[in-house]
């Protein structure tokens, strides 16, 4: 993996003339986990798609850049709310999909190692339909990891999981993605309070930066400062218009 760059996006976006967001400006520091917290429909996912080089349907007037000035394409991995596993491939083949899509030999040894890290070593030969929702997201995380990109974009990847699986996935993701520039879109204040080195609050009024507690991430879900910060984020969400 090359050195993780900072991320910058500024500007405004519309789809078919309807405003989606902006004008706004966001920055994600290099090698840190930045949560972009906001209610549904505020344009968080669109913003993430623009950073991923997607969003052909979006008319974007502004600037997307990496802190080192080099293009972002090819340095980004994306993990979405849907696990996007291919039902006709087993877990190993799903995890090594990227290599085969680029015409390279799949790295089976590396796949074994990564599947071990996410706790799926015993499930490598299973098809996705034989996995639980949490296991499927672990497989998606393994597929993201094996791409070994310095920038990882997360679009509410844990929001469909039950509370326990979600907390476990948050711990795992914080561990395995440490050192990369992570931009994590979420509508869950508790999640942002646990994971963010930086928390950006995105509402219809714009983006503001909220300073999280000093405790290292992933913060304990029942620590008073985590809960206090979660409450503060929720209040800001409620008061925003």
């Amino acid at each position: 993996m090359t050195a993780p760059p900072a991320l910058h996006l500024s500007g405004r976006a519309t789809i078919d003339g309807a405003p989606i967001f902006g004008p706004i400006s966001i920055d994600a520091p290099p090698g840190e986990w930045t949560c972009l917290l906001g209610p549904s429909g505020v344009g968080k996912s669109t913003l993430l798609r623009l950073l991923a080089g997607l969003g052909d349907e979006v008319a974007f007037d502004g600037k997307v850049a990496a802190g080192d000035g080099a293009p972002l394409g090819g340095r980004v991995a994306l993990m979405a709310q849907a696990d996007l596993l291919m039902p006709w491939l087993d877990v190993t083949a799903n995890v090594t999909l990227g290599a085969r899509l680029r015409g390279m030999a799949p790295q089976r040894g590396r796949a074994r190692e990564v599947l071990g890290r996410v706790g799926l070593a015993d499930h490598a030969a299973k098809r996705p339909h034989a996995l639980s929702g949490g296991q499927r997201q672990r497989a998606a995380l393994a597929r993201t990891l094996i791409e070994d990109r310095p920038v990882v974009l997360l679009d509410e990847p844990f929001s469909a999981l039950d509370a326990r699986s979600r907390a476990l996935m948050q711990d795992l993701a914080a561990e395995v993605l440490a050192g990369r520039t992570v931009l994590h879109v979420t509508h869950d204040a508790a999640e942002a309070a646990r994971l963010g080195h930086n928390v950006l609050l995105m509402t219809a009024g714009g983006v503001s930066c909220v300073t999280p507690p000093a405790a290292p991430t992933p913060r304990l879900y029942d620590a008073p400062e985590t809960l206090g910060f979660q409450g503060r984020l929720l209040r800001l969400l409620m008061e925003a218009r």
Binding site: G53, L54, G74, L78, A82, M86, W88, L101, R102
Partner: protein, 243 residues
């Protein structure tokens, strides 16, 4: 097991109803022979029927195989290049405006009275449903998968081959299931227009000689062959593509 009992039950009831109609209405055997007579004719003429059934089966299988392969390739061509799409698609739709039945005499003229004019009919009749079902499925790849492929820097060719085609195989399978039922229609039409072999030919021959019992025996064999083909295609499709 329950399904077998169910099918046997339906068949028995149909046979009884058939026999009842023949007996009660006192129909002459050259209008509607009873199932008993048809069965006896089937048994005494089994070698003759088998000989012709083999010919029809060969026509149907060849037509199905070639039509499916051509449909598969056409759908991929249509998806891979917008240029072929803009040229070929209107032609495909227009070709459906010509009844396949009307083409049978021309095909016989061009390809002769043998096997290949019937194979061509079966092929023509299944080509559109297979192409159309597979093409539609190829155009409906879940967008999330395509975006994942884009972020992973996949080439369009590999995205097509590794994601769009496998994702569309259930669509291809539903086209094949339809084709398994349509292909025998094509072969029989071909045989009616001009042939010296096959179940369709045998039925025409029996009809001309007022051997209605033989006609019915051939008809039932044709129906059973079609059902078996459909079941076999269904089993293969399930194994391969429906998980």
């Amino acid at each position: 097991m329950r399904r077998t009992v169910h099918i046997t039950g339906v068949a028995l009831v149909s046979l009884l109803a058939w026999q009842a109609v023949v007996t009660l209405a006192d129909l002459p055997r050259f209008i509607l022979p009873g199932p008993d007579l048809v069965f006896v004719t089937f048994w005494t003429s089994r070698a003759l029927i088998a000989e012709h059934a083999l010919v029809t089966a060969a026509e149907v299988l060849l037509g199905l195989g070639l039509g499916a392969a051509l449909g598969f390739a056409s759908a991929i061509l249509l998806v891979a290049s917008p240029l072929t799409r803009s040229v070929l698609r209107p032609m495909l739709v227009f070709s459906q405006a010509v009844p396949v039945f009307a083409l049978a005499p021309i095909l016989t003229l061009w390809l002769g009275y043998g096997l290949w004019s019937k194979v061509a009919m079966a092929l023509l009749i299944i080509y559109f449903p297979v192409t159309s079902a597979f093409f539609d499925a190829l155009m409906r790849t879940p967008p999330g998968w395509l975006e994942l492929a884009r972020v992973m820097k996949a080439s369009p060719g590999r995205t097509l081959w590794r994601i769009r085609v496998p994702a569309a195989m259930p669509g291809f399978a539903s086209g094949l299931r339809l084709a398994a039922v349509y292909a025998p229609i094509g072969a029989i039409i071909g045989e009616w227009v001009g042939a010296s072999q096959g179940l369709g030919y045998l039925m025409l021959l029996a009809n001309g000689r007022a051997k209605i019992d033989l006609m019915f025996a051939a008809l039932i064999v044709l129906a059973v062959l079609t059902l078996l083909l459909h079941a076999a295609v269904d089993v293969v499709c399930r194994r391969l593509w429906d998980g």
